[in-house]
């Protein structure tokens, strides 16, 4: 699962049957610091997100499982949550190195 920023909408008249009622949004995948990752993609919306919203997205076949009714649809990116609040600790605050030998965490 990853973050995405809604940038706009995609309008498609001809769609695979079963996806007709779905809203398709143009999204920019972003990382935890909200920096863009890769180019714009299109996601199916099930949470009524709007342009500018930061969202939680799910990829792969699980995106099709997020659909409200018919789950047997060719959808590989879906918006499943609208982010109200995000707290991320700065890089370096926690050591993310897997050291040789014994690593004790607690």
């Amino acid at each position: 699962m990853l973050f995405g920023r809604v940038k706009g909408t995609a309008v498609c008249t001809i769609k695979y049957p079963g996806t007709q009622g779905l809203k398709l949004l143009v999204v920019q995948p972003v990382n935890k610091k909200l920096e863009p990752i890769g180019i714009l993609q299109v996601a199916a919306d099930v949470v009524q997100a709007g342009v500018g919203d930061l969202c939680v997205m799910v990829r792969s076949r699980e995106a099709a499982l997020a659909m409200p009714e018919i789950k047997f649809v060719p959808i590989d990116l879906a918006l499943v949550g609208i982010v109200d609040e995000l707290e991320v600790r700065p890089d370096g605050e926690y050591d993310v190195t897997l050291r040789r030998g014994r690593n004790q965490f607690s």
Binding site: V58, A64, G81, V88, T97
Partner: protein, 92 residues
């Protein structure tokens, strides 16, 4: 499954029903000594273990395993935190 560090929390009021009543956390995967964590590697995971910021966690990043962990055969979830790690011994 992968090992990662919880570095953030996400609050979503409006979310899919499969995500209700569980916390979403931001996870940064662990890297080997001498490697730098990539800015593109972080991801969001659904918490199933009461993990918190700073915990080292075991994350299932595959949908089928995630659905089993959540006991929901239709859950639209890929990454689920399935354990909090106390210690690791690594040789590489």
């Amino acid at each position: 499954m992968i090992l990662g560090k919880v570095v953030g929390t996400v609050v979503t009021t409006i979310s899919h029903r499969d995500y209700k009543n569980r916390r979403l956390l931001v996870v940064q995967p662990l890297v080997f000594e001498g490697e730098q964590p990539s800015a593109e590697d972080d991801f969001i995971a659904l918490d199933n273990t009461q993990a918190g910021i700073g915990d080292t966690v075991l994350v299932n990043r595959e949908g089928n395993g995630a659905r089993q962990a959540l006991k929901n055969p239709d859950a639209c979830v890929i990454s689920v935190i399935v354990g909090i790690v106390d210690s690791i011994y690594a040789e590489y």
